[in-house]
């Protein structure tokens, strides 16, 4: 079955100075699916992608894309992949259509073919009206779309999408999701990095959770969520005076520790069994504890990380004390 692997990596290492940005990553990504890379800033997601996309040479281990080694057969890899980075990798001084014509020519299309292809893509991506404008005048969502269009001037067999929705409004994010779904439906494998569990859950068949350059968990979204509980219950009370009663009642009914927030009114509890939540909320009403609002959220990336690593998904990942300090501060404030 090794022929069906889009990406295979064994013990991949990339070192920058004294930082092991990628520290022994193993991967086996089936072709024809979306594979999610979930992790905080600085976890090593982008560095791993840059090695797989032949932009960086690994310092250890090996990786192949569709069976081609990323170091020794870089050109063969390049002819199968496309990369859309975190920042629009297009020429902002050129117009949308000029960018796509340039890439079409570099891929080997004739002038006329490249022009036709650029027109088709701009139409498909809802950018026909902006075709003749310089990309620097595009909105964030339009930039992201022209960037993805630039990656599919010839639809690649494997597409790397590095945080494609970071900083986008919900409408643009949904458009990017639609594009990713269309890509996979037409046979492109996608490696997607994201900081949002929600996004990985929506799109990815399998997810690798990355922390400090290592894969710390791997599986389907369902498996990952099962390992961290189904989320958190947030409750805001009417009366601060009843909070202690509410903490006791909820921790008994949910069988989980309940945390009190600094505002004196809010409570948060992890939830393993969602069924119990309705009963617990009803019980609050019965004993006369007023609830102003409540929500049952999916586990956040932070909760996934807390469950898997015991430390929050802090950007400041090399400072081990940060998480502990924050917990202490919250306790003091409460």
């Amino acid at each position: 079955m090794s022929t069906s692997l889009a990406i295979e990596a064994q013990g991949l290492v990339k070192v920058f100075g004294s930082t092991r940005a990628v520290d022994g990553v193993n991967l086996a990504v089936e072709s024809g699916s979306v594979y999610g890379f979930l992790g905080p800033n600085g976890a090593g997601k982008t560095t791993t992608i840059r090695v797989l996309a032949t932009l960086l040479q690994p310092d250890g281990g090996r990786a192949s894309v569709f069976g081609h080694d990323v170091v020794t057969e870089a050109d063969a890899v390049r002819s199968r992949i496309a990369l859309t980075g975190q920042f629009a990798s297009i020429d902002e001084d050129l117009t949308g259509v000029e960018n796509l014509i340039m890439l079409g020519r570099l891929l080997g299309f004739s002038r006329a073919q490249a022009r036709n292809r650029a027109g088709d893509l701009l139409g498909a991506f809802g950018l026909a009206a902006a075709a003749g404008k310089q990309v620097k005048a595009y909105s964030g969502g339009m930039r992201r779309r022209i960037d993805i269009a630039a990656s599919i001037v010839v639809a690649p067999d494997l597409m790397f999408l590095d945080e494609p929705t970071t900083g986008l409004d919900p409408r643009s994010r949904n458009q990017v999701w639609d594009i990713i779904r269309a890509l996979v439906a037409e046979g492109t494998s996608v490696l997607l990095t994201t900081q949002y569990l929600d996004e990985a859950d929506q799109l990815a068949g399998r997810i690798a959770v990355i922390d400090k350059g290592r894969v710390i968990a791997e599986g389907t979204p369902g498996e990952l969520k099962a390992s961290v509980g189904s989320g958190a219950l947030h409750v805001r009370l009417v009366d601060a005076g009843r909070r202690q009663d509410a903490v006791e009642l909820l921790s008994r009914l949910l069988d989980e520790p309940v945390q009190a927030a600094a505002d004196g009114l809010s409570l948060t509890a992890r939830v393993q069994e969602p069924d119990r939540v309705a009963a617990a909320l009803a019980q609050l009403g019965e004993v006369g504890i007023g609830v102003r609002e409540f929500s049952l959220g999916q586990p956040s990336l932070d909760e996934v990380f807390l469950a898997l690593t015991g430390h929050p998904a802090d950007e400041d990942e090399f400072d081990g004390s940060t998480g502990a300090d924050r917990t202490a501060n919250e306790r003091d404030a409460a």
Binding site: R78, D93, L107, D120, A124, A129, K136, D178, I179, A182
Partner: protein, 283 residues
């Protein structure tokens, strides 16, 4: 950079799902382009950028004019007795200095590409590796030619009448362009090893200032102390100015040209491979 680009309204920006599906069925790559075709595409891109950002031509037009006027009238009387006599001596040198200064932008443009991310996209394309750099140099040739034409036109208006005639002028510019192409590999290498665009400028200037001033551009080296003459005589800019001056005045020797060709060959042989090596493994 121009701030005149106004935001494009978000109209008609819905995805066309059927069109998208259709677009995604184009999966067969055409044969990869030849080295020449890929380089020309990058050259086309650089020329289009000049069209969109014409301000960048300010450097290649206003700068040479200012240099010519300032040096001719400011120093001419003192250094050569009269501005007209000095012009005959200094104009080929001013031309060299202008174009050599402009060649620095090759590095700056490359650094901009690296910082913007387009560099990464280019490097994931299966094309002839040096195409992006060579294509940039082709477009630079247009800017160098423009700067040369402007400088020489101003010079002729002010009374520059070289002995080599029109052919001499063209040959002199051609030699200068060849040298500028060769020198550009130094700037591309610098762009690949420093951290910021500001550093590219700073390092390039630190190299160019001594190189252009400690030369025979402005004064005859015979007036300098012996130790300085020794330095000036091996400065490649001096060799180039001697060659360009010789061609324009119609009194060049084969040896003078040979030294320029040798300088070019050394620059390319050393900094070409250095650049391409960094280009391949750039982090």
């Amino acid at each position: 950079m121009s701030e005149q680009a106004t935001a494009v309204a978000e109209t008609g920006t819905e995805l066309d799902d059927a069109g998208l599906r259709r677009a995604l069925t184009v999966r067969q790559r055409p044969p990869r382009p030849s080295a020449v075709s890929a380089s020309l595409t990058f050259g086309w891109r650089a020329l289009i950028k000049i069209k969109h950002v014409p301000e960048q031509l300010f450097d290649v037009t206003a700068f040479p004019v200012m240099m010519t006027l300032i040096f001719t009238y400011l120093l001419g009387g003192a250094l050569a007795g009269s501005p007209a006599e000095y012009l005959t001596f200094v104009l080929p040198g001013i031309l060299v200095q202008s174009v050599v200064m402009i060649s620095m932008y090759t590095g700056l443009n490359l650094k901009t590409d690296i910082d913007k991310g387009i560099f990464d996209r280019i490097r994931t394309l299966p094309i002839w590796r040096p195409a992006a750099l060579v294509g940039g140099l082709l477009a630079d040739g247009v800017r160098y030619t423009l700067a040369s034409v402007v400088t020489l036109t101003v010079g002729v208006i002010l009374g520059f009448r070289p002995g080599g005639g029109f052919v001499g002028l063209v040959a002199g510019v051609a030699l200068l362009l060849l040298f500028a192409f060769s020198l550009s590999w130094v700037w591309t290498y610098i762009a690949l090893i420093v951290r910021s665009q500001q550093s590219v400028m700073a390092v390039s200037m630190a190299i160019l200032f001594p190189l252009t001033f400690v030369s025979n551009i402005f004064v005859n080296p015979a007036t300098m102390p012996g130790w300085l003459q020794a330095i000036v005589e091996v400065n490649p800019i001096t060799l180039l100015v001697t060659g360009v001056r010789g061609l324009m005045h119609g009194e060049v020797t084969a040896a003078q040209l040979g030294w320029v060709f040798l300088s070019c060959a050394v620059l390319v042989a050393v900094f070409g491979p250095l650049t391409m090596r960094r280009y391949r493994v750039k982090n």
